[in-house]
Symmetry: C2
Subunit: 313 residues, 2 copies
């Protein structure tokens, strides 16, 4: 019998699985990761989670009985009441996966699940840039775009668990043709990393830029900061579309804070220009835009927080 | 001492004040109204409310002691906890009016207040087109545009009581210059009654339409239904902008139902065309758009519901 208790947080991504062992206050004691490239089957992923957890426990000399709860997130629409991942993006291709039940069977510990963006919001809410702010939106700008909404200190998932699917938002300057399910959304195609890469390819012209033809979103933003005119126009367009989305969300939700995360969202130049456009439109209320303080750990910290919440019920 | 109990509902508008006497189930027993044109002072409006209420009670032979509660709404940002109307539009021009306290002093009865669009949503939620639907948005399309949001059977007012101020939303096709406070919002200028009247004036050309130069929004929509080409293009633009706003809101809030109210919003042709555009964009979820079933009584019924809620606390 051991007195000490521990939590496990799991971040299931399209390319990586990350597992952390934390104390009851949420402090990470040890972590490990495993690839999910080519691994789509949920049973295999849960087996990998169990291996990662067992390895962390073994290395720390902790028996599995000392684990109090597991929190986990996958990149998809998740019913947090039943613990079923209803649908993920093409990277995993899950449909109706009972992740909570599978984790509980594999590890014999109470678990809770939510989608990765909601978990990132939860992480920022408790451990990060939104600590002490009861109403805010976390915007994950990576390959795609999604929002995690916190209202009155609670995650707001919506009636069918799809609140915050803002990648499809229609703002000035985005393509207006209806988008097929599974394709990048209208706003995503302007703001997301993959959309930015494609924009740069289509605009690239050696007379207008000295930068190379193949660039990532953050490389384009770096080029803009360094003064490249074409990169500047792309960054301006991105900031304008993101600002419209943030402005629209603050009109609907009245949230005074937006936290930017994800590989694209963490670029300071995007934050700065977006804030300027928002300020030009804001009247009664000026929403503040800040960078995630947890960075790529936001989801994992949210998973740990989710596990912590189980123990506090 | 009387056994029977009654409620009073009050709808304060920019041009009209409406007061209703209802039984405890919310059924209107008698109603009256009074003009508010040229009457901006809150004390004078409260005095008018008292006169209207006293007249209704006298006509019905009911002593004032039989009134259990009063619910009231004004067209402006309202702190429902303190009962203070923080700011209304230019029609009333109120700033920080303690309406709840003033009503309680004038009538010696517990009261509750909220803004008119939220009250209309509350009315539709309990007595109207959204009865039994826990998550929906009421869109008031009149001179301007506003949204009342109901989440999990509760009005959602936002952290600073301005949730749903969607008249400023930025969607494809709206003017993109920042709007000054107090001026019509970007979306409002395309969808709202005043914006539609001005659009028609600026577009009007006897070679393109047989309709007159001065038309109201509903007359323009009637002209579109009758086949007028210019009126049709205006209705199409309005429906497209409204559809974008509804689509954006359903992405953020995951609400499956939108109820259209207000003098412009109640036109069936606007609903039908807006639903078509939304359907073209909707993928996972197709929000349904319906007309308000309470019509111009939505706010008044919401005020009565607010009074009813006081008695159920």
């Amino acid at each position: 019998m051991t007195e000490r208790k521990y939590l496990i947080g799991v971040d299931i991504g399209g390319t990586n699985l990350r597992v952390a062992l934390a104390d009851m206050k949420g402090k990470i004691l040890a972590r490990t990761s495993s690839t999910t490239v080519g691994v789509r089957d949920a049973q295999l992923i849960v087996a990998k989670i169990r291996q990662c957890a067992d390895q962390l426990l073994q290395d720390a000399g902790i028996p599995r009985e000392a684990i109090t709860a597991i929190g986990a997130g996958a990149p998809g629409v998740t019913n947090v009441e039943t613990g079923v991942v209803i649908a993920t993006s093409y990277l995993l291709g899950w449909r109706d996966v009972p992740l909570k039940a599978m984790l509980e069977e594999a590890l014999s510990v109470p678990s809770a699940v939510d989608n990765d963006v909601n978990l990132a919001a939860l992480g920022e809410s408790f451990f990060g840039a939104a600590a002490g702010v009861p109403n805010f939106v976390f915007l994950a700008v990576g390959t795609g775009l999604g929002a995690g909404i916190v209202l009155q200190d609670q995650l707001f998932q919506g009636a069918a668990w799809t609140a915050g699917e803002v990648g499809y938002m229609l703002v000035p300057g985005v393509p207006q043709d209806p988008v097929e399910l599974g394709q990048p959304g209208a706003l995503e195609s302007v703001i997301g990393g993959e959309g930015l890469r494609l924009q740069w390819l289509s605009l690239w012209n050696p007379r207008e830029t000295k930068l190379p033809e193949n660039l990532t979103a953050t490389q384009i933003f770096d080029g803009a900061v360094a003064g490249d005119p074409l990169a500047n126009s792309v960054l301006d367009r991105t900031a304008h579309a993101l600002a419209c989305a943030i402005f629209n969300m603050t009109l609907v939700l009245n949230t005074p804070l937006f936290v930017l995360g994800g590989s694209v969202g963490l670029h300071p130049a995007l934050r700065d220009r977006t804030q300027k456009v928002v300020d030009a439109h804001a009247r009664l209320l000026r929403p503040e835009i800040v960078l995630s303080s947890l960075g790529s750990d936001a989801q994992l910290m949210g998973a740990i927080r989710l596990a912590q919440l189980i123990t506090q019920r």
